[in-house]
């Protein structure tokens, strides 16, 4: 594989420094990319990966340091400069226009023109089709973007960059939105690209992917370059140690589950979203005390609506939810909470926390009106603060005291804050939706351990995650959700491929 990697350096970044008020985001960072190489940039959240790439892409100006492209020093003052110099960036969130075709999206902004003013649609189609063929993209140039899959949309983003003659591609956490199958398709495309001499910077915090695709790996930690290593010889453990600065337990250690009474029963549940589209279509399952049930599925297959319905945030169309033997018909958020549901929501910043509130105020979010926090409508801030202080210690929340704003905490500590609040309420059923999304390995390790501990304490835990790895390593039982229905149930050993296939709607005759 390494034979296409020439030693010619396409990009050199030397001594890059970037400071934001109060934070040194990049501190003497050095990084280079060879022609036709996939170079992974690995690091925890806040390690400085995005800052470095934003500097390269002309969005930030470095405070110090030098960037050389093909040996020549460059200084970009905007993304336009970077694009003109042959750098393309594919963001996590696609910037495509859904009602336009693939070809139109690809040429947008640099359309081929006929007679000075007319859009040369056929010319555009032809060039895009040629490109799709060369790189084996398997995308129909005439399809509308809204009709193609997420994986294909990502390929359109890559084509956009290539169309602008990019020979250095930056991919920002490209697999975050993909299924395992789509991810392996992407890796094949990346192999094709590097054979064509395109260099790729692959930003990720997933160790297994980096080891699969990268030729070299650079690890950043707290704004500094820790090491650049060839893939050969690197292991998940060695990379994790470099990322976090200590040994990390990558596998979740857990005893076999000891399931007890059924604490959550869902019977033939139907839920519609705001636009009256039925998103949950007759889902039934139960979760017992002392077990973790994982729901696997590609984003947008009804998981969000299912959780919202269970937690009273979305109206139930029909069906029943029973918590600890008590049936809730059309619960609102308050009755669901009172019935014993704890909920770590998938979006901690939008829903799980009031970022402007202090840690103490956030901890009181569910029971601010109950003694001892309040009596007869009067708040006792002192008591809120005392309780917060206890939980900060118990859950090892770092970065501030009870009166620190939640928005000032890092993602991992914000998530610990949410978890602390939900677990401290002593819920019968704990629903954890994407509990480790966007977190770094250290925080993931902590939350996973904590979920297992809470399971062993006898709670019923419903885990919903788009990360198949997370589902596989934590769950005692796995349900696969596809287009609003449960299409598979597995206990014991099951292959990633089998679940991946079910996630895409293909049913395999596997017995549970």
């Amino acid at each position: 594989m390494g034979d296409h990697v020439a030693d010619e350096l396409v990009l050199e970044m030397r001594g890059i420094r970037k400071e934001f008020p109060g934070v040194v985001a990049n501190d003497d960072v050095s990084f280079d990319v060879r022609r036709g190489e996939v170079h992974a940039l690995l690091g925890e959240n806040g390690a400085g990966k995005s800052t470095l790439m934003n500097i390269l892409y002309g969005l930030y100006r470095p405070d110090a340091g030098e960037i050389r492209l093909n040996g020549k020093p460059v200084s970009f003052s905007s993304a336009r400069d970077a694009i003109d110099a042959g750098i393309g960036m594919v963001h996590q969130h696609f910037m495509l226009i859904p009602v336009m075709t693939v070809a139109e999206n690809v040429v947008l902004g640099t359309e081929p023109v006929r007679n000075g003013i007319f859009l040369d649609e056929r010319g555009a189609d032809k060039r895009v089709a040629e490109m799709a063929k060369t790189f084996n993209f398997a995308v129909d140039p005439d399809a509308f973007v809204e009709d193609i899959s997420v994986g294909q949309q990502q390929r359109v983003e890559i084509m956009k960059a290539l169309y602008r003659n990019a020979d250095l591609l930056i991919l920002d956490e490209p697999t975050a939105v993909l299924t395992p199958q789509e991810a392996s398709d992407l890796f094949e495309i990346l192999q094709t690209l590097r054979r064509e001499g395109i260099s790729i910077i692959f930003i990720s915090h997933k160790l297994n992917e980096v080891l699969e695709i990268a030729d070299r790996i650079t690890v950043l930690r707290r704004g500094k370059t820790i090491e650049t290593v060839p893939r050969a010889g690197a292991t998940e453990a060695s990379l994790a140690r470099a990322m976090v600065g200590r040994d990390v337990l990558l596998r979740v250690d857990k005893e076999p589950a000891q399931p007890g009474d059924v604490l959550l029963t869902v019977q033939d549940l139907h839920v519609r979203d705001e636009r009256e589209i039925e998103r949950v279509r007759g889902v039934s399952f139960d979760v017992r005390a002392g077990e973790i049930v994982g729901i696997a599925g590609v984003d947008g297959n009804g998981q969000t609506e299912l959780i919202d319905a269970l937690t009273g945030l979305q109206r139930i169309e029909s069906g029943t939810v029973t918590i600890g033997g008590r049936e809730l018909s059309h619960p609102d958020a308050r009755t669901a909470l009172d019935a014993g549901i704890g909920h770590i929501p998938e979006d901690r910043q939008r829903r799980g926390l009031v970022l402007e509130f202090t840690i103490a105020e956030n901890i009181a979010l569910h029971d601010y009106a109950q003694p001892p926090t309040a009596r007869f409508g009067w708040l006792f801030p002192r008591r809120m603060i005392d309780r917060a202080r206890t939980l900060i210690r118990e859950f090892d929340i770092r970065g501030g005291g009870p009166q620190t704003r939640a928005g000032g905490l890092s993602g991992g500590n914000q998530q610990k804050l949410v978890a602390a609040r939900e677990i401290d309420r002593d819920p019968k059923v704990l629903i954890a939706a994407q509990p480790t999304r966007g977190l770094d390995v250290g925080a993931i390790e902590y939350l996973h351990r904590r979920l297992v501990t809470e399971r062993d304490e006898g709670r019923a835990i419903l885990l919903v995650s788009l990360e198949l790895d997370e589902i596989l390593s934590l769950s005692d039982r796995i349900l696969v959700m596809y287009e609003g229905e449960i299409v598979g149930e597995h206990t014991g050993e099951v292959s990633e491929e089998a679940i991946g296939l079910e996630m895409l709607g293909g049913r395999e005759p596997t017995a549970a």
Partner: protein, 414 residues
């Protein structure tokens, strides 16, 4: 975790969604310096206008001296309780103006804390005026204290109901409160104009040719605590306004109601997730907000004014509801800030109209406009406090730019 984690703010800038949340971020960024800079900048620009139109910098300085004296602030140099003293009289009028503005300011501030922009303080104030006048005029037989309390209470309720309409509309059909409160302002205005106008049900019974209300009966008037025969004294409304500041502070910071209001204001999604009824809070916060403005109207009616004329034109005679917006914005929607903002605008309102009316420095007909110029500039600068922050940070930014090339060359490999 081995390392204490840091804020990853520069990598993932949190973008708060609501008005109140965005506001909060900006406010924290600037500290107390921004409102002060805002006021100084507004005064400076006002001075530039005077200097330019009068072709004299000296006159601009004189104008500000006269405003200062006109607001009665020179009273502190020779304090006296004698209201016949001009500076004491001016100060007493500034205090009256300030108490009204405290209440209309609190009206804006409270809604803001729940993430809403109540531009309807003026209409809610008018409803307070109307109802307090009606009660004050009609129940002549009542004994004084219950009469006053009833008129104040119903005036307050009138403001609350009026703002509550906008709250209900927002909670049920999603009508934006900015639009609905502005429309309610005009409905209140023309409602009052009809009630007190020619042939209206509450028109003056002794002078049927004048479109004005009856006088509030003497028993329903707020007693003065600082007064002189034949002069408008300072009534106890000042204390009611000060008490309202305390109530506002306690309500927002020390009650579960205030917790809900703030949670909804900062992040309605998180509030709903926390088990808070968002719609109920929108309606309730709007009603409480209107109650402050209604109380302002009732106090003005039972205190100094005692009768009211809405006029038949499209120009309301009173602007206190709108000035309340500037007061609250400048005061960062806090109790203490609102007090300071109200003092500033109270002094300015009375100081410009009465300090400059001699015509010695600038034409009296221009004097009142200076208030509006400064008020407008404050609102402009507060609204554009990103701009003020930018100006504020300029020295640091310039310093960095100059420093940068030096460091980068130093670190270049030889």
């Amino acid at each position: 975790m081995s390392d204490p984690e840091r804020s990853s703010a520069p990598e993932q800038p949190a973008e708060p969604g609501t008005l109140a949340a965005r506001w909060n971020v900006k406010q924290r960024a600037g500290g107390i310096a921004v409102p002060i800079a805002t006021v100084l900048l507004a005064f400076f620009m006002g001075g530039v206008v005077v200097a330019a139109t009068q072709h004299s910098v000296h006159k601009a300085l004189l104008a500000y001296r006269d405003i200062f004296n006109g607001a009665g602030l020179n009273w502190i140099f020779h304090p006296t309780t004698n209201l016949l003293d001009i500076s004491a009289y001016n100060l007493s009028q500034t205090l009256l103006q300030t108490s009204t503005l405290i209440l209309t300011g609190l009206a804006v501030a409270f809604a803001f804390r729940c993430g809403m922009f109540n531009i309807g303080g003026q209409g809610q104030y008018f409803m307070g005026i109307i109802v307090a006048n009606w009660i004050g005029v009609s129940l002549v037989g009542m004994s004084s204290l219950p009469h006053i309390l009833l008129a104040l209470a119903l005036g307050t309720v009138a403001g609350a109901v009026w703002a509550g309409i906008a709250g209900v509309l927002k909670a049920t059909v999603g009508a934006h409160e900015v639009i609905s409160t502005i429309m309610l302002n005009w409905i209140a205005y023309w409602f009052g104009s009809w009630l007190f106008g020619d042939g209206g049900p509450l028109q003056n019974s002794t002078q049927p040719t004048i479109p004005i209300s009856d006088q509030v009966s003497p028993g329903a008037r707020l007693p003065d605590f600082w007064g002189a025969q034949g002069f408008q004294g300072v009534h106890v409304g000042v204390f009611i306004a000060l008490a309202a500041l305390v109530v506002f502070w306690a309500l927002v910071n020390r009650t579960t109601l205030g917790y809900e209001v703030r949670a909804v204001g900062f992040n309605p999604d998180a509030a709903a997730y926390g088990g808070i009824n968002v719609k109920k809070n929108l309606i309730r916060a709007m009603a409480i907000s209107g109650a402050f403005a209604g109380l302002a109207g009732a106090i003005d009616m039972l205190g100094g004014t005692t009768n009211y004329q809405f006029g038949q034109l499209d120009i309301p005679v009173s602007q206190v509801g709108f000035i309340g917006i500037a007061v609250a914005l400048l005061g960062r929607n806090t109790a203490l800030g609102t007090l300071l903002g109200a003092l500033l605008f109270g002094g300015l309102l009375f100081g410009t109209t009465h300090g400059l009316n001699s015509g010695a420095v600038i034409q009296p007909e221009l004097a009142g406009n200076l208030t509006y110029i400064i008020e407008g500039l404050v609102i402009l600068f507060v609204g554009a406090d990103v701009l003020v922050l930018w100006v504020w940070n300029t020295p640091r930014r310039l310093f960095r730019k100059r420093a940068k090339p030096a460091t980068s060359t130093a670190e270049l490999p030889a």
